[in-house]
Subunit: 255 residues, 2 copies
Amino acid sequence: MRTIAIANQKGGCGKTTVAINLAATLAREGHRTLLVDLDPQGHCALGLSVPEGEIQSSILDVLLRRPAAASERLIWQIAGHFDLIPSTTDLSQIESLLIGMPDRHQRLLQALDAYSDQYDVVVLDTPPHIGVLTANALYAADEVVVPVDTGFYALHGLSKQIETVERIRRDTVRPLRLRILANMYDVRTKLAREIMSELRRRHADAMFTAFINFNTKLREASSLGVPITEHDPGSSGCRDFQKLARELMTGAPTA
Amino acid sequence: MRTIAIANQKGGCGKTTVAINLAATLAREGHRTLLVDLDPQGHCALGLSVPEGEIQSSILDVLLRRPAAASERLIWQIAGHFDLIPSTTDLSQIESLLIGMPDRHQRLLQALDAYSDQYDVVVLDTPPHIGVLTANALYAADEVVVPVDTGFYALHGLSKQIETVERIRRDTVRPLRLRILANMYDVRTKLAREIMSELRRRHADAMFTAFINFNTKLREASSLGVPITEHDPGSSGCRDFQKLARELMTGAPTA
Ligand SMILES: Nc1ncnc2c1ncn2[C@@H]1O[C@H](COP(=O)(O)OP(=O)(O)OP(=O)(O)O)[C@@H](O)[C@H]1O
Ligand SMILES: Nc1ncnc2c1ncn2[C@@H]1O[C@H](COP(=O)(O)OP(=O)(O)OP(=O)(O)O)[C@@H](O)[C@H]1O
Ligand SMILES: [Mg+2]
Ligand SMILES: [Mg+2]
């Protein structure tokens, strides 16, 4: 089982959009996929038509080691090979609930162990804040995908973001592969082209060859509560995520 | 002196862009304006060409009540009537540095008192996370501007965001006015039009009449390290911020 964290402290760079659509695409390609939402905003449930009012058990219970009663559903089936463990706003209490616990960063790593037979890939969505939730994601992950909108603020925060990720993981022995994914790329905008070539210059080894274009169909899909694989299977947005999924799973970019 | 917090837990909705350009526009209109960055990402300094390496004293020192030595500059002059107190990444340590202190949410309110003769308006940029930094901003503020990109996730998180703001301020006696600002509006996109009318329907009393259109000149301005008032004084982006500044200061929308 491979665990992939989608993380970037910069807000609005597309973490949730990448998490949902990458998970949906991996599932379409036949990988048994679990999406876990570690953001108290709970946008994975929202973007996949899971009604927040009906979420009885969530990732908060998993991190607090509260077993779900048989009647309380923790895992929601989204599509074939595609399940979700959602979050709710209660998750924002986690910092104070885990204060002082020595293993507070390893809770997710320990919990995911139980699923290693059922899933091939786990995708983790994270909040725009370096705290106990993102630390849990980074401890549990084998690799990190850092989405970067091709804007000025996103480019500049990146080196610090990479340092932060490496600092959090320094005291564990498992290697963590970090790769950068350009998102919301609009080839018609000069600034975006400049930022993209700057990203490739500064972070050549860490950049995915695949990138996600700016595409209003991705926004529409989230407002309809479905991944792009369902909203518009033939769109360029879908192809962008297929290239990403293949490069991620095979290690080699597709033409 | 009026203190205005720019806050929204949703990442990337334009908090920093609104904070910088609103402050610059208020200064142009003759109001003595102080911009304070409470986000450890430090994007106010970055977007205003203040070199992070030269920031010796920052908002962290203010919150920790460490007086700046005479030689260490805390306040940077950006333009006429427009000053900045920047932040650096060290600010992310604030949660642990203020743990257990009973007045940890009132530090900024107390510190800004000292500036009440020098400035007419203080604008506060905040991080995309409800924690001690945003709490300090909400305690110090007389009003809150909540920027909302006209996207699906931003619309849905809004009611919870408003509840959170009201909960944090419940135990103080000073009233706090909260208003919603539509940002990144692209009238050509059907989804954006739908979201805008939904915003106006659900939050009629709280919406500014003024709104900020999607405008690549705002992105360009930040990459050049200047506010829109300098990058392109005649642009529609500039006019959008003038309407906002006037509605904010007079209480009445401009035609
Ligand atoms: N490639 C894309 N093309 C067009 N719109 C996009 C793209 N990726 C994301 N978006 C839109 O940009 C906005 C921000 O994306 P999203 O919410 O996924 O970012 P995030 O990093 O998860 O935000 P947060 O920091 O709040 O968690 C959303 O409205 C989303 O629909
Ligand atoms: N009206 C607008 N038109 C076009 N681009 C915009 C507009 N407002 C903001 N942006 C761009 O959108 C991106 C996100 O904006 P910004 O960084 O100001 O949001 P934020 O809420 O401060 O993010 P964070 O949650 O990380 O603090 C930036 O690249 C910015 O230049
Ligand atoms: Mg998100
Ligand atoms: Mg910001």
